[in-house]
């Protein structure tokens, strides 16, 4: 029994990760080649791709997707690398960690809106300097939605840097930081150079799937692209969503072909990144072998802390502006504050958020709990077999994050409707969320799980306890904190899901996030403020509540308190 459960958990986990993606991709591929009987497509043909090729502006859209995605990844990773290289092992790092961790729970859409409200020509920053320059009208500058996608890249960087930063921090204990630091310093290398030469290669190997996930996400993102990205033409993903919603049914074929192209575009981005990786490796080796020490890196170190501070500051200031807008009466340019404050936006929203809130909570907790159970099963299996997950298994875990959502949830939707599963909508929603929640939960829990000193359990087993009893009375209580962190992270991921919720719930069930994006289409800053804040508060509350549990549980165990 106790041996069987973990084994089936592994099979279930793999199935839950791989099957939806496989079927979803098939559901997209067949119509892309003209096969969708109900819409009159009975034969395989290349017509959808011919139509796609004839679409004006498509190359620009595709190039824009790759370029913004790669640029955002490169900048985020660069900032993370220089900052971690400069400050790993110092109190500065742990202080900044406290600033950046909460950023992970801020949904992309909320962060993007906050940034837009901050830097737009009618935004808060210009209002701040308006009296100095005598500006009484917003200047006619093309931000956001600039054709090069610079604002969009900025919007992605402020969210992806904290993600990469925390992933890197998680991998940091597995390298010999202080020994390497001493060694590099004793040979007179700069802090950054020493870190990059000695530690970065093995550190990068551990975080590279996360980097690929960032590339895939950034090159296929919809909500951030709509809020900040260029719109004439937009990125490929935003065009895809338009086609999927087109009332003309023949456009469904085009949309499927476009989804296949999106997959190609993301793959091209990844390929380009592989080339960059090789190039960087060559450069790194060359520079190391020449013995370049880069001793004067203090300026770069200072800049990196400034940039990281700016990122945190931008997100928090953005949230503050969102909060002010949600309470604003008339607020004209260039006033720094509204002429009047009113609760009207909140009062009119609150009665309507009951149902979406319940759906958000139920879906979030159900999918996260399932994810936790499966993850514990898989990790327990690792202990039984004594083998830890291979790189291949790790790739499987990252698969839902690396295959662009838009390319397979569209096919899943068709399958879901085709199966007539309308009564099981909530179940389907939980399962789809699980696909995206599971990787985060697993990645977050795996390291602490493996790091726990096994001698506690060996003693317990020697005292005659069963494996299950050891798990329940020793391992789980000792790991309660990382388990709760994984729970909170999984919940935040579920809350943030937009596209899968929209397509599978079909508007019958709405969550705070689908509500927020739907209302954002009205482009009312006050309403956006209310919903973006709600979208942020819900996962924050989950984090806060779950943080309280361990101290309550461990009231009587002094050594377990932190």
């Amino acid at each position: 029994m106790t041996a069987l459960l973990p084994r089936s958990a592994v099979a279930l986990t793999l199935g839950l990760l791989v099957l939806p993606i496989t079927f979803g991709l098939l559901g997209t591929l067949l119509p892309a080649f003209g096969y969708l009987p109900a819409l009159g497509g009975h034969d395989l043909s290349l017509q959808p791709f011919r139509d796609l090729a004839a679409t004006p502006g498509l190359p620009t859209a595709a190039v824009l997707s790759v370029a913004t995605g790669l640029a955002a990844t490169l900048i985020s990773l660069g900032i993370t690398l220089i900052f971690v290289a400069s400050y790993a092992g110092t109190p500065t790092l742990s202080r900044l960690q406290h600033l950046l961790s909460p950023l992970l729970a801020v949904p992309h859409a909320a962060a993007a809106f906050g940034l837009a409200f901050l830097i737009a020509p009618s935004g808060f920053l210009i209002r701040l300097v308006a009296p100095l320059f005598g500006i009484d009208r917003p200047p006619d500058i093309l931000i956001p939605h600039d054709p090069m996608g610079l604002t969009m890249i900025a919007g992605l960087v402020i969210k992806e840097t904290p993600f990469l930063f925390l992933v890197t921090l998680a991998a940091l204990p597995q390298v010999e930081l202080s020994a390497a630091r001493r060694l590099a310093a004793s040979f007179g290398y700069g802090r950054i150079a020493g870190f990059v030469y000695l530690l970065w290669p093995s550190l990068y190997r551990q975080i590279r799937f996360a980097v690929y996930a960032v590339i895939a996400y950034s090159s296929s993102v919809v909500d951030v692209a709509l809020i900040l990205g260029p719109n004439l033409p937009g990125t490929l993903a935003t065009r895809l969503v338009q086609w999927m919603n087109d009332p003309d049914l023949s456009v469904r074929f085009l949309a499927s072909a476009g989804a296949v192209l999106q997959l190609g575009v993301t793959l091209a981005g990844l390929l380009f990144w592989f080339v960059l990786e090789r190039l960087a490796a060559v450069l790194l080796r060359a520079s190391r072998e020449r013995g370049w020490r880069f001793v004067r890196d203090q300026f770069l170190r200072r800049v990196s802390i400034l940039v990281v501070g700016l990122i945190g500051g931008a997100v928090f200031a953005g949230l503050a502006i969102l909060a002010i807008w949600s309470l604003a009466g008339l607020w004209q340019f260039p006033d720094l504050l509204p002429q009047s404050f009113t609760l009207r936006s909140w009062m009119s929203a609150l009665p309507r958020i009951g149902d979406p809130l319940v759906t958000t909570l139920v879906t979030g907790f159900a999918s996260t709990l399932l994810a936790i159970l499966l993850t514990i099963g898989c990790l327990e299996r690792e202990i039984q077999t004594g083998r830890s997950a291979s790189q291949k298994a790790l790739l499987m875990l990252y698969l839902p994050l690396i295959v662009p959502q838009i390319t397979f949830v569209f096919g899943l939707q068709l399958l879901f409707i085709g199966s007539g599963g309308g009564e099981y909508r909530l179940t389907a929603l939980v399962l789809v969320h699980l696909v995206f929640v599971l990787p985060y939960v697993f990645l977050s829990l795996a390291d602490p799980w493996r790091a726990l000193d096994r001698r506690y359990e060996i003693i317990a087993t020697a005292l005659g306890r069963s494996r299950l009893s050891v798990l329940v009375s020793i391992r789980l209580p000792m790991l309660i904190r990382p388990i709760l962190t994984a729970l909170a992270l999984g919940f935040a991921v579920s809350v943030g899901q937009y596209l899968p919720t929209l397509l599978i719930a079909e508007g019958r069930l709405s969550t705070i996030t689908t509500e927020a994006v739907a209302l954002a289409s009205g482009n009312n800053r006050r309403v956006i403020g209310v919903y973006a804040l709600l979208q942020t508060i819900v996962p924050f509350l989950a984090f806060a509540l779950l943080a309280l549990i361990p101290s309550a549980l461990h009231r009587n165990r002094r050594e377990m308190r932190v």
Binding site: L26, D140, L142, N245, P247, G422
Partner: protein, 409 residues
């Protein structure tokens, strides 16, 4: 892999090969029976959800429907009506000819024509059999029976009127300086660079602006009542694009990007980024002032030779799950009481589709007593109505617009 393909194809076939659409709609002549059958049903009303006051109005409708008829009405908030159409298409594709997920849909124009042509609507026509149809102003509002030149044939029931109206902030710009036709608007824009723009199509306010200009500058306006003629299309729309080519360099952000929609323009009027904006609902300015989104100095104007006008509707998909509930809801939506509240700017401020002359005296008095607000033009000051062109024009113009201005060349 082949096995997977096989399984998938089999699932798809099984789902799609079920029986064809059947047209056994409810019997409308016995309205009491319809109401009875509706009791206990849940109507999923697919309606654009981008406006809080409209959502609040629909919530009131839901509460009334529950207490009066025992029908629960749930608004499925859409970003774009096209996604509800797409949903019905997907259901037809999957062979779901019964128990569909869309019961009632807020619709007009292209989406209506598309659904009508693809046989996605409840037939036969039902709207003129609704008890409250007796109040509908079919005589004076021709757009109730022809939606974008497409005969409605009772496949959709009118819900509200719309007319293009322009707004400016009288604290920043003088009323007498406001243009009186599209050409004058172009001159004004050239003199005030960066202070006028329009939402990029397919946003419907933006598309409406293109149609307004086309109606004014096309050589032979009678062509717009008929479907696009392929041979002459390019020549027909040339004046429109010549107009836009001149407008864009003088427009907001030099025409490199466009406002998203009306709400976006409203915010930009409040910020002073734009000086002339327009909406498809005459009471929008008053509603904006009331909500604290626009300064109290905003005023309305129209063109003396007429602006675009149309009607918006509700329709029922052929595979709706709660057909009776949807019918009873559609009937309630054109009741004098629901229409009065809808025209009241406190709640929504959308012009009614009912004829004042057909209403009972107390209802007529209640409509008269509505305070429309200082920024709203009285119904007799709204100017003539220019009818919507045939839906095929908009589709072609949107494609052409995108080719010229949105393909990044």
């Amino acid at each position: 892999m082949r096995l997977m393909t096989g399984i998938f194809a089999a699932a798809l076939m099984a789902a799609t090969s079920s029986f064809p659409a059947k047209a056994a709609g409810p019997e409308l002549s016995d309205w009491a029976a319809v109401e009875k059958a509706a009791t206990g049903q849940t109507v999923y009303f697919n309606a654009w959800g981008g406006s809080e006051n409209i959502n609040a109005y629909l919530e009131w409708v839901g509460a009334e429907m529950q207490s009066r008829y025992g029908v629960s009405v749930v608004q499925v908030k859409l970003e774009d009506t096209a996604s509800a159409v797409a949903k019905v298409i997907a259901e037809k594709a999957a062979g779901k000819n019964d128990g569909g997920s869309v019961d009632l849909i807020w619709i007009n124009g292209e989406n209506f024509v598309s659904m009508k042509q693809q046989g996605l609507l409840l037939t036969p026509g039902w709207a003129s059999s609704l008890p409250n149809w007796a109040y509908v102003d079919v005589e004076n509002q021709p757009t109730i029976l022809t939606d974008f030149t497409e005969p409605t044939e009772g496949l959709e029931s009118p819900w509200g009127g719309a007319k293009m109206v322009f707004f400016h902030d009288s604290a920043r710009t003088e009323a007498f300086a406001m243009p009186d036709n599209a050409t004058a608007l172009l001159d004004w824009a050239k003199k005030n660079p960066g202070r006028f723009s329009y939402p990029a199509p397919p946003d419907f306010t933006g598309s409406s602006f293109l149609k307004q200009v086309l109606s004014e500058v096309i050589g032979a306006p009678s062509k717009l009542a008929k479907p696009v003629s392929e041979e002459t299309f390019n020549a027909d729309v040339e004046p429109l694009f010549a107009y836009l080519d001149q407008l864009h360099p003088a427009a907001w952000r030099s025409g490199k990007t466009f406002p998203q929609n009306y709400s976006d323009m409203k915010q930009k009027l409040a910020d002073g980024e734009l000086e002339i904006i327009f909406a498809f609902n005459p009471s929008e300015a008053s509603a904006g002032i009331k909500a604290g989104e626009l300064p109290e100095t905003v005023r309305s104007f129209t063109f003396s030779k007429g602006t675009l006008g149309n009607t918006h509707f509700v329709a029922i998909p052929y595979n709706a799950n709660a057909k009776e509930g949807a019918l009873v809801t559609a009937n309630f939506l054109i009741s004098p009481e629901a229409q009065l509240r809808k025209q009241d700017p406190t709640y929504w401020g959308d012009p009614t589709v009912l004829a004042m002359s057909k209403l009972p005296e107390p209802d007529r008095a209640a409509f008269k007593a509505l305070d429309l607000g200082a920024a709203t033009l009285a119904p007799d000051k709204l100017g003539p109505v220019i009818a919507e062109p045939h839906a095929s024009w908009m589709e072609r113009i949107e494609v052409e617009w995108r080719r010229r201005y949105a393909s990044g060349n």
